[in-house]
């Protein structure tokens, strides 16, 4: 069984509704947004970042979420990544409704279920690659020896086994993004959630990163990429377009 599938199963375990609700044989939804709104007060004005979005993403899908800036795609990503809660509507991640969770439970859900990849990599400059990749396992309270083993495994998976003693500053942009991907995968999440992952890379390196995403998806992990780039969006089997806080076409 693939690591992604294993974690996905673990994530929905204990949440009977998520598994039982799916048709027999069909993959259960790992992401389910139901009538979700997210409003912010910005000074006097109310910003309707998301204004009633319903969508679901099944386990094992590979999806791009697209839209121009201000379309709500970042807000959507934050909700899927359990970094934020909706103003109204329901967000189910791995079958768990995030609305009812306190800070610690939300952090734990994020830790187990979602692996983040950012445009600017967000590696900690003073930690070497292994220590960077280990971080999610620190917060998962995994023992140091097991952490190291899993970090090395994840680095091998992204093809960086030969650079393990290095600091992030000693790597190229593409290599740094691979470290970030290894970090995202190390706790075997159900969802790999990437925010403009190729935005800081040249196109050849960007293509290599997208190829890596395809491999990861083929191994069973749900991949969700948020981008404003038409070309990248088009390369995904499923494309969700947002505009003005709504699904395009709705």
């Amino acid at each position: 069984m693939s690591p992604g599938g294993e974690a996905g199963a673990a994530a929905v375990a204990g949440v009977p509704g998520a598994a039982r609700g799916a048709a027999p044989g069909a993959a259960p939804d790992v992401v389910c947004l139901d009538g979700v709104t997210r409003h912010y007060a910005m000074g006097e004005t109310l910003v309707r970042a998301l204004d009633g979005v319903s969508l679901s993403i099944a386990a094992g899908e590979s999806v791009a979420i697209m839209g121009p800036s201000g379309s709500g795609k970042s807000t959507c990503m934050n909700l899927i990544g359990c970094l934020d809660r909706p103003t109204s509507g329901r967000v189910l991640i791995g079958g768990v409704d995030t609305a009812g969770l306190d800070d610690a439970a939300l952090a734990a859900l994020r830790n187990r279920t979602v692996g983040f990849v950012f445009q600017q990599f967000h590696l900690l400059p003073r930690l070497d690659l292994v220590r960077n990749v280990e971080l999610p396992l620190v917060y998962a309270r995994i023992a140091p020896r097991e952490r190291k083993r899993r970090a090395l495994e994840a680095l091998e998976r992204v093809g960086l086994s030969d650079r393990i003693g290095h600091l992030p500053a000693e790597l190229s942009g593409g290599q740094r993004q691979r470290v970030a991907i290894a970090r995202a995968l190390v706790n075997r999440p159900a969802i790999l959630l990437a925010d403009e992952p190729t935005g800081a890379l040249d196109s050849a390196t960007g293509q290599a990163v997208l190829e890596l995403f395809r491999e990861i998806n083929a191994a069973g992990t749900t991949v969700i990429v948020v981008t404003h780039d038409q070309g990248i969006g088009a390369s995904f089997p499923r494309l969700i377009r947002l505009r003005d806080g709504l699904l395009e076409g709705s």
Binding site: A108, N111, F116, L124, R126, L135
Partner: protein
Amino acid sequence: MFESVEFAVESLRGNKLRTALSLVGIIIGVASVVTVTTIAGSGTADVKRQFETFGLDAVQVYPGWNQAEGKPGIELDAALASEILRSLPEAKAVLSRTEFQGRLASGREVQAASVCAVEAPYFAAMNAGLALGSAFTATDEYRGRPVIVLGAGLAAALFPEGQPVGKSLEASLNGVNASFAVVGVLAAKEGFFMDDWDRSAYIPYATAQKRLFGSIGASAFTVVARDRAGVVALGDSLEAFLLARTGNPEAFGVVSPRKWAEQDEKMTKTIGLILGGIAAISLLVGGIGVMNIMLVSVTERKREIGLRKALGATRRDIRLQFLVEASVLTVAGGALGLAFGLAISWFAVKAFGWTFAASAGTAALAVGVSVAVGLFSGIYPAARAARLDPVEALASE
């Protein structure tokens, strides 16, 4: 927890100069705490030792000098001694003492010495132990035997070959010559005030009176207290008694070492309080410095905090990280402060001529204080860091 300490050390190493500067206040604060406690501890121990050599359980009475009449302000005679005993219930005994200057000779060696005529209980009252032989006995005193106890230095000078006990000495005291048998040698004893124990010799008061000089007045009384606790009160009532009798505070002197020791302790405490206050202020300032640096650090590392939250850190994890970081910072400062404080107090104590007495309690105090300052100054920045919204934190530059 271990990770937190590791992370803290990493992040502090990243900003060495800033870390060092922010520690100055803590270093000064802890160094002053350590210096104060060490110097006060060493000083108290030293003063106590000095007073003990003088005999803490007795009070000395000396006559003053009446300049108008050209004679001692008070006569320390047997009548006064028995009146003191009758009037002051806290007094157990009044021991007379008289000093003579003279020369002692043992075969080839001759030494100038001050020879004190004392009563046998004097040695115990003054905390003077015997190294060899014994002190005079009641029979020696009763019979007025010519026996002598030597101070350690004097014994070594007169009998360089050793074995002084049982040997005889020729003494010339105020023009009177006499032979004495050495019965004991005192243990080496630090001098204090006007006594030089090592260079003195002691003969029975009764012997001086009966055999050598006839009736003599005492040059000092040693008044022994009935019990230890009452010795300060005894000093006070002696003063009141003698003042009532002479009507002149200049006519006599009362020296109460215990009272001095207590006054000294009080003064040490007061100085300790003042210096402790200074230390507290520098620790407060140091704590504010650390709090400031932690707040800067939280602001600078918003993205790191956001990232850690995205990777699954709870508020508690973040709070713990910054609390540990502040504590690691202050404990490092505390360790440096401890080292500086010990160094400063070592030099100070040597300069005062005391014995250096550092205690494990001081080190524990330094560490405890620095952890407390770290926690105190870390709480607010850590709470701020923990409260950060991960979305905003990740988006910040």
